[in-house]
């Protein structure tokens, strides 16, 4: 049976990989959106979406493209930066690599190599898009290897649980950018389309709904769609499946199922933007509570010395 410490390390490896992936998607979509913008663009938005606004202000940085990109991609002291995520994923993977298919470790090493070799060059747009695509593709390859070759035992289910929890959180964050009003005029169709692009959900949205791009449909799609793999609902459902496969999971499973029910009942797509923002805050708090419950239930006691 899997060690508690190993569960914790797989969990963090998986969360950091997913966070890196989502951050890369967000930066990619923001960059592409900025190329189309008619007005001098606001590069501050992704900093706030990723919850790094306070740190950014504390550094007294200006919201220019180059500073924001350096802050989100390269800054080793910014815990949500791509560099920091790759490093944290690798440090966690290093200690559990004996449980993972060899190619998973090689993939994570490759991410590390990309970060090492491309230091500081990603603030330039032309390089940046290729670089981000490389990161996302490498992470998708890692996920594919995990799906294709890791036995569906406890390590697999811990990786899945962590990935889905992180993804639900990131999807809600990316959606939240529309509710803060200022960002890209809140409701412009371009903005909503960009959000779908950031989550690689544009095609799936069109296939699923086939209607015009109205904000309510997009919110419903990203919050409640049962079939789109990045929707919050989908993530909660499949977290439940992962938990069902883990030992002693009943108390955590009950909480996830409760959140899933409440989430559907809240009908977030019917909320006004301001109310939606409050709801997303609350959702993020509840996701953090589920993380806390998983940690208390499965992870080893923190070291006391």
């Amino acid at each position: 049976m899997m060690l508690s410490r190993v569960g914790e390390q797989l969990y963090w490896m998986s969360r950091y990989l997913e966070r890196m992936d989502n951050t890369a998607r967000l930066i990619k979509a923001t960059t592409q959106q900025m190329l189309d913008a008619r007005h001098p663009a606001d590069w501050r938005a992704p900093v706030d979406i990723l919850g790094a606004g306070t740190l950014f202000d504390g550094r007294e940085l200006a919201a220019h493209e180059s500073t924001v990109m350096a802050f989100l991609i390269d800054d080793a002291h910014q815990p949500g930066s791509i560099r920091a995520c790759v490093r944290a994923a690798r440090e966690n993977a290093r200690t559990v690599r004996e449980l993972l298919p060899t190619d998973v470790w090689e993939g994570i090493n490759e991410l590390h190599g990309v970060m090492r070799d491309d230091f500081g060059t990603n603030t330039r747009r032309r390089r940046r898009l290729d670089f981000l695509r490389h990161l996302i593709a490498t992470n998708q390859r890692i996920n594919g290897i995990i799906e294709g070759t890791l036995s569906h035992g406890p390590p697999y289910h811990f990786i899945l649980l962590a990935r889905l929890l992180e993804r639900a959180d990131m999807t809600s964050r990316i959606l939240d950018k529309h509710t803060t009003g200022e960002v890209d005029n809140g409701g412009s169709p371009d903005g909503w389309m960009n959000t779908l692009h950031a989550l690689d959900g544009y095609l799936m949205y069109r296939q699923s709904l086939g209607v015009g791009l109205d904000p309510r449909s997009v919110v419903r799609f990203l919050m409640l769609d049962p079939a789109f793999p990045r929707s919050v609902r989908f993530c909660l459902r499949h977290m439940g499946d992962a938990l069902l496969a883990l030992p002693r999971s009943a108390p955590v499973l009950a909480e996830v199922q409760r959140l899933d029910r409440r989430h559907v009942e809240a009908e977030p797509h019917r909320l006004a933007l301001g109310a939606l923002h409050d709801y997303i805050d609350q959702l993020q708090t509840e996701l953090a509570d589920i993380h806390g419950l998983i940690a208390r239930h499965y992870f080893p006691e923190p070291l006391t010395c």
Partner: protein, 484 residues
């Protein structure tokens, strides 16, 4: 056709590959011909492919430098070290004999101490031994075996004689690099593996698993085996992780384990506590159990010694096995082999002066400039004096150290270690090597086919430790038709 080896200087040392610059030894002929058939461009292509393979496979070692742990790429040289099978079989016999005697000796020290009683080993040597563990007295591990994994360092002198330089019985490392070196070399020189018989090394992990399994308490049908590591910041962490993975064993840290009131060892799993039967520990005795050894250790497990003494868990190597890992004890090995086995040693020691004895000590002090002086209990090449390369001041300091604690020092003549051609930029130059084979001893004995060859990369250097700039070579035991 002098080719790549034009001007190759193998004198005055024994070269493992070439008997003179244009004549390979028989087992090295296919490799020699292949290299000669390649131009410099082809050789540097292979060398780059080798670097790329090590990078892709993530083969690293950790060095501690300026307060930081740094992962470095594992240094592997393109040219393997070749040993002919017939010669290897003799070395194999010698290693089995030596490890058998070592285990008799350790078992005796923690038992009735017959070797001391019979005057083979001076009593003061035991009294002054830093690695003798009083809490191990009276314990009888399975088969009377204490050192289950032994890495003995072998060198070949100017006369071609293979000698044991030291025995590593605490937590010898390097075997994962031996295995990975072979994986890399098969990728780089597939044609050489296809066209001759290079004996495989890859059964080590299943042999290790078998050895560890044989140590489990008698009533356990399918034993739970764990590899106990000090953690990610240890320089050998790569290996701990690698071996656990290859054996399908759990890789655990001290905080993953606890000893319950039933004196049994458990690991904390997501499903609750799970019983552990065998611990392959890669941490030193000092840190094993804060109840018995260093109380400030956070790497070990409180109560582990209790569980071991009660026979509820096996520990490999057994606590206290390091007593024979003492360079002064080493000097007594020929006598100990004769004493316990009634046989002559099949593998020679390096001639060793023991400062414990006043006449030998005087000799050492008079010849410091031509000897290598080693403290009894250091490893990794630290704390040594290499006479011919030392200053007057260093020799004065060492003379003082030796006089203040003679029991703790031995001295050996400076050895002319054998050489192997090594790629230096784009040419082959002789570099000194040693060899660390690994011997497993549980219900049965098993010796790796060859071992890890380490190479001193700077010209003339004799220091092969990877922490001090050493590199490595794959080791090929080649059946050239002369073996049986």
């Amino acid at each position: 056709m002098p080719g790549h080896f034009h001007g190759y200087q193998n004198h005055p040392f024994h070269d493992e590959m070439l008997s003179c610059p244009v004549t390979p030894r028989p087992a090295a002929r296919p490799l020699f011909d292949t290299l000669q058939g390649m131009d410099r461009g082809a050789i540097s292509d292979r060398s780059r492919a080798l670097e790329a393979a090590i990078d892709a496979m993530g083969i690293t070692f950790t060095v501690y430098s300026e307060g930081q742990n740094i992962d470095r790429h594992w240094p592997l040289d393109l040219v393997p070290r070749i040993i002919e099978l017939g010669e290897w079989q003799q070395i194999h016999e010698g290693l089995c004999q030596r490890v058998t005697a070592l285990n008799h000796f350790i078992d005796d020290l923690y038992g009735e101490q017959a070797a001391v009683r019979d005057g083979i080993l001076p009593a003061e040597l035991l009294a002054g031994s830093r690695n003798f563990r009083e809490p191990c007295r009276g314990v009888r591990p399975a088969y009377g075996v204490w050192a289950h994994i032994c890495g003995s360092d072998l060198v070949r002198d100017e006369h071609g004689i293979v000698r044991v330089l030291e025995d590593n019985l605490r937590v010898p490392s390097g075997v994962s690099y031996m295995l990975e070196n072979r994986h890399v070399m098969k990728r780089i020189f597939p044609e050489l593996f296809a066209n001759q018989t290079i004996l495989p090394v890859d059964d080590y992990c299943s042999q290790l698993l078998d050895t560890l399994g044989s140590l489990a308490p008698a009533d356990v049908a399918s034993p739970e085996i764990v590899v106990l590591t000090p953690g990610i910041y240890n320089s050998a962490y790569f290996e701990h992780s690698y071996l656990a993975q290859q054996m399908g064993a759990e890789l655990v840290e001290g905080r993953d384990l606890f000893v319950d009131t039933d004196d049994c060892l458990y690991m904390r799993t997501i499903a609750g506590p799970a019983r552990v039967d065998v611990v392959y520990r890669r941490i030193d005795d000092d840190f094993l159990d804060p109840e018995v050894f260093r109380p400030d250790s956070t790497l070990g497990v409180a109560g582990l010694m209790r569980a071991w003494r009660a026979g509820n868990v096996a520990i490999a190597n057994a606590p206290g096995a390091g007593v024979a890992d003492d360079k002064v004890i080493y000097a007594f090995m020929p006598e100990l082999i004769r004493y316990y086995l009634g046989e002559s040693p099949r593998l020679a020691n390096v001639p060793t002066w023991r400062c414990l004895y006043p006449d030998e000590c005087d000799y050492v002090l008079d010849h410091l400039d031509e000897m290598v002086v080693k403290p009894a209990n250091e490893s990794g090449g630290y704390g040594m004096l290499v006479g011919p390369r030392s200053s007057n001041e260093m020799r004065r300091q060492f003379a003082k150290l030796i006089r203040s604690d003679p029991r703790n020092y031995i001295a050996q003549p400076t050895l002319g270690l054998s050489t192997v051609p090594t790629l230096v930029e784009d040419r082959f130059e002789p570099r000194h090597v040693d060899l660390r084979p690994f011997v497993l001893h549980g219900r049965r004995q098993h010796v790796t086919m060859g071992g890890l060859s380490r190479v001193a990369l700077p010209r003339g250097s004799l220091v092969v430790n990877s922490s001090q700039g050493g590199g490595s070579k794959d080791t090929w035991v080649v059946d050239a038709g002369g073996g049986s």
